[in-house]
């Protein structure tokens, strides 16, 4: 029987093939079991959205790499989030507007080139210049002459370099800002301010294929879209040398697959535990599961360009909505405690001294259905009798929590139709509708901090016409207080002035704070000393591999 033999043969072939892959699959993780400081680890990664340039990287995945291959003037302490001197010997100012920066001697890029003041000035000029299309260019907006190299109105660029940056020596340069900004030095740990070697300018394409920096790791090989392997740089002059031999970043299409790979012993570190696994993660990993606060806050913003939402009395409706949301229950049931109910507009990673103040929101963020109902009625009711919460449905598990928030509001108001979710297909389209000012009701507004400063949680989001003020909220008192805080040289005083501004935000409920987001990670038994920094990125250089 021809047919029968065929079937047998096919079955055998399949069995043999399965066995073969089994043989091929087993030997992957047996290597590297002995040596510690030379052993490498593998970690999950996502494909960076933009070319890997310091001033062009504005998402976490590219940021991870920059964090490993670059060191800047300052570095944020992975535990406290405090900005500490790295390459900066000293940064001096007498008026909060003119700064003199001295760069430490003895630092080099991994290709041997010396890191000098020029490495910074050239890099910053490159980042600010409009013709280079850098998405983080606005970070240089505080420096004098920015409007010439990056005309906001789309006019012609009239200068190639920032007039506020001046080289004054091999290792010194001065920065002149266009406004007083006392905490400016603390922003300099952001990757956009990293120094760049000459090769970046002379052989740009070559550099992009294999970026060269001055951090504890060097890039060994980079296959775009699938894998990057980083090696410990033995000549690294800094104190925070890599404790392992290197890191292989593997691009995963789906964080569920990464988690499965971790379970199968195929991967060492997953820095984004999928929502679906949160229930099992404790049982699967025990204390190899990390769930620590990150500098991320989720809020609901309002379209203040819409008359319905900006007219007098609406602050009561907004506060009422805030009081109708049962944050405790939602963070527990939907997020399995990977979110913490928010009670101010900043993040716990700032710490008390940095400006985080638990309970600053007060009653306005406490769940009270009766008060909510009363406030909304007093404010004139919901515009059109219904709120629609707009969100993008393509990533994250936004649908679940938006539905839960609506459910909570509907229950509080005894009205099935008081709140509905309004999903938008893609993130790009969502952003598109926001920029086109097409929002008709509250919408999702997540904020991940650029640097751990209270300023970063307030100014970009709520200052009149600020870069991320998507709801176009505008308040003179708030703006005045922010300006005052920025001019204040005494840090403690600056922080308390920022908090005063935050109180203005609260009284008008410029945006509803929902919850602080935690970073999550899971790792294999081979690893120890795994931590997440305040940006929810693993501190790779401190990980020990056994």
């Amino acid at each position: 029987m021809r047919g029968a033999t065929h079937a047998k043969w096919a079955a055998c072939a399949a069995a043999v093939a399965l066995a073969a892959t089994a043989c091929g699959g087993g030997d992957s993780d047996s290597g590297g079991g002995s040596g510690d400081s030379s052993a490498t680890l593998s970690a999950s990664w996502g494909d960076p959205q933009n070319p890997l340039e310091p001033a062009n990287t504005n998402e976490v995945q590219g940021g991870k790499v920059l964090d490993m291959i670059f060191r800047s003037l300052k570095k944020y302490n992975p535990e406290t989030g405090k900005a500490e001197d790295m390459l900066a010997d000293k940064i001096e100012t007498s008026d909060s507007q003119n700064f003199t920066v001295t760069v430490k001697d003895g630092w080099t890029f991994s290709n041997g080139e010396k890191v000098t003041a020029k490495s910074f000035v050239d890099a910053w000029n490159y980042g600010a210049s409009l013709k280079n299309n850098q998405k983080n260019a606005y970070f240089f907006g505080y420096i004098d002459g920015y409007d010439k190299v990056h005309p906001e109105d789309g006019g012609k660029q009239t200068a190639q370099t920032l007039s506020g940056l001046k080289l004054t020596g091999d290792l010194t340069f001065t920065v002149k800002l266009n406004q007083k900004f006392s905490t400016f030095p603390d922003t300099l740990g952001y990757p956009a301010y990293a120094p760049l070697p000459q090769a970046f300018f002379t052989d740009h394409d070559g550099w992009l294929k294999k970026p060269v920096g001055n951090g504890p790791y060097t890039i060994d090989s980079y296959t775009k879209g699938s894998q990057m392997s980083l090696k410990k740089w033995d000549g690294y002059p800094g104190e925070d040398k890599a404790q392992n031999g290197g890191v292989t970043l593997k691009v995963y299409t789906d964080n569920n697959t990464a988690y499965t790979d971790l379970m199968a012993g195929n991967l060492d570190l997953v820095d984004d535990v999928p929502a679906a696994q949160l229930k099992n993660v404790q049982a699967d990993l025990g204390d190899r599961y990390l769930n620590t606060p990150a500098g991320i806050i989720q809020t609901l913003a309002f379209p203040f360009y819409d008359k319905n939402w900006s007219k007098a009395g609406m602050e009561k409706v907004r506060t009422g909505l805030s009081r109708a949301i049962n944050r405790d229950q939602i963070t527990k049931t939907i997020f399995n405690d990977t979110r913490t109910p928010a009670s101010d507009w900043t993040s716990p990673v700032l710490g008390e001294a940095g400006g985080f103040k638990k309970g600053l929101c007060g009653d306005a963020c406490e769940y009270d259905p009766d008060a909510a109902k009363k406030l909304i009625e007093e404010g004139g009711g919901l515009p059109g009798g219904q709120v629609k919460i707009t969100y993008n449905a393509d990533t994250g598990s936004h649908k679940q929590w938006v539905d839960a928030v609506c459910n909570s509001i509907n229950n509080a108001l005894d009205n099935d139709k008081a709140c509905v979710g309004n999903p938008v297909g893609t993130f790009a389209d969502f952003r598109n509708q926001i920029t086109a000012k097409k929002m008709s009701g509250p919408f999702r507004a997540g904020w991940q901090m650029d640097y751990p400063l209270i300023q970063n949680f307030l100014q970009p989001l709520y200052y009149t016409n600020a870069s991320s003020n998507d709801g176009k909220w505008s308040n003179k008192d708030f703006d005045k207080l922010v300006d005052e805080a920025n001019a204040e040289t005494d840090t403690a005083k600056a922080v308390s002035t920022f908090q005063d501004a935050e109180k203005v935000l609260r009284d008008n409920m410029g945006a509803i704070p929902l919850w602080y987001q935690n970073g999550s990670a899971g790792y294999s038994e081979r690893l120890s000393n795994v931590k997440l920094n305040p940006f929810s990125v693993p501190v790779y250089n401190e990980i020990k591999v056994s």
Partner: protein, 307 residues
């Protein structure tokens, strides 16, 4: 034959243009790609304008389409948002997906046709009934369930395979994903072959062949199978294109960086150049596969002649 091929190739042109135009319009309708590019915050107006100019998004759509098609004919598929040439993305993604498709098609041909012949020859017997039941189960269970289940069992519980496919994506790594990808089509191929065989078994030419005293094996392979394969070949041929484009689910589960992955990323990031480029190639694959199927008919059944 030659004239037929030329005619078919000429017919491809309007189909090709129509399909790409449709995709182009659909991707453009989704909104402004630049808006998603700057992450959770708005690009400043000047940079956004500059980027639009760089990617040619400031021109009207019809003009974008014409420039795009003009470039395609010179082999330039544009640049993805991360600065990579789309052709570069294709050169890494297509080999992987082609390997995956080959594995899947092989499963379809070998297992599907074999099971089909076996059951077709023994209609109503226990083998037939059990295979029919089995195919019914395979068809009704969604691919992602089969995929995740196999991944969990073979990858995590028993440790036979790696749950994810490495960057190299070798043939041996692609066997399980290939089987998952093929599963539903495989069941259809089995059923198609079975019906076709069962029908033709009673036809005159088979009876003649048997009456001539030909050996059973020869009757089945030369006479019965050859004629019964026509619908099956049609199905498998069109399935080549469907497998390549429809591998998104399988590729996602097993972390395969192929066409499905690139398309998914392209759609999420609203990267017109990537999406249109990949779909253009997929359309070509579909068209060529269809042509090959039609030409294969003549080989299987000499009565079908093309003028």
């Amino acid at each position: 034959m030659g004239r037929y091929v030329v005619r078919r190739l000429l017919q491809m042109i309007p189909v090709f243009i129509g399909a790409t135009l449709l995709i182009f319009l659909m991707v453009n309708v989704m909104g402004d790609p630049i808006a998603g590019l700057c992450g959770d915050r708005q690009c400043d107006a000047a940079t956004a304008a500059q980027l639009e100019k760089e990617f040619g998004l400031d021109k009207p759509v019809w003009q974008q389409y014409l420039t795009y098609m003009g470039n395609v004919f010179t082999g330039d598929f544009g640049t993805a948002f991360n600065g990579q040439k789309v052709t570069e993305l294709m050169s890494t993604a297509f080999p992987v997906t082609i390997r995956l498709t080959i594995v899947a098609i092989l499963f379809e041909i070998v297992i599907g046709i074999t099971l089909g012949v076996v059951t077709g020859l023994r209609r109503g017997k226990p083998v037939d009934t059990s295979v029919l039941m089995l195919t019914l189960v395979v068809i009704s269970v969604p691919t992602f369930v089969t995929g995740l289940l196999l991944q969990l069992l073979l990858g995590v519980e028993w440790g036979w395979i790696k749950p994810s496919v490495s960057t190299d994506a070798t043939f041996s790594e692609l066997i399980v994903p290939g089987l998952v990808l093929a599963s539903v089509s495989l069941a259809y191929v089995t059923r198609l072959t079975r019906t076709s065989i069962a029908e033709n078994r009673r036809s005159d030419y088979v009876r003649t062949a048997v009456a001539k005293g030909l050996p059973r094996r020869r009757v089945i392979t030369r006479h019965l199978l050859r004629n019964s394969l026509i619908p099956v070949v049609t199905f498998i041929g069109t399935d080549i294109g469907a497998l390549m484009g429809g591998a998104i689910v399988t590729e996602r589960i097993f972390n395969i960086h192929g066409v499905g992955y690139q398309l998914y990323q392209g759609i999420l990031r609203q990267n017109t150049q990537t999406v249109v480029g990949f779909v253009t190639v997929l359309v070509l694959v579909f068209l060529v596969a269809n042509l090959l199927v039609d030409l294969l008919y003549a080989v299987l059944d000499p009565r079908i002649r093309y003028a």
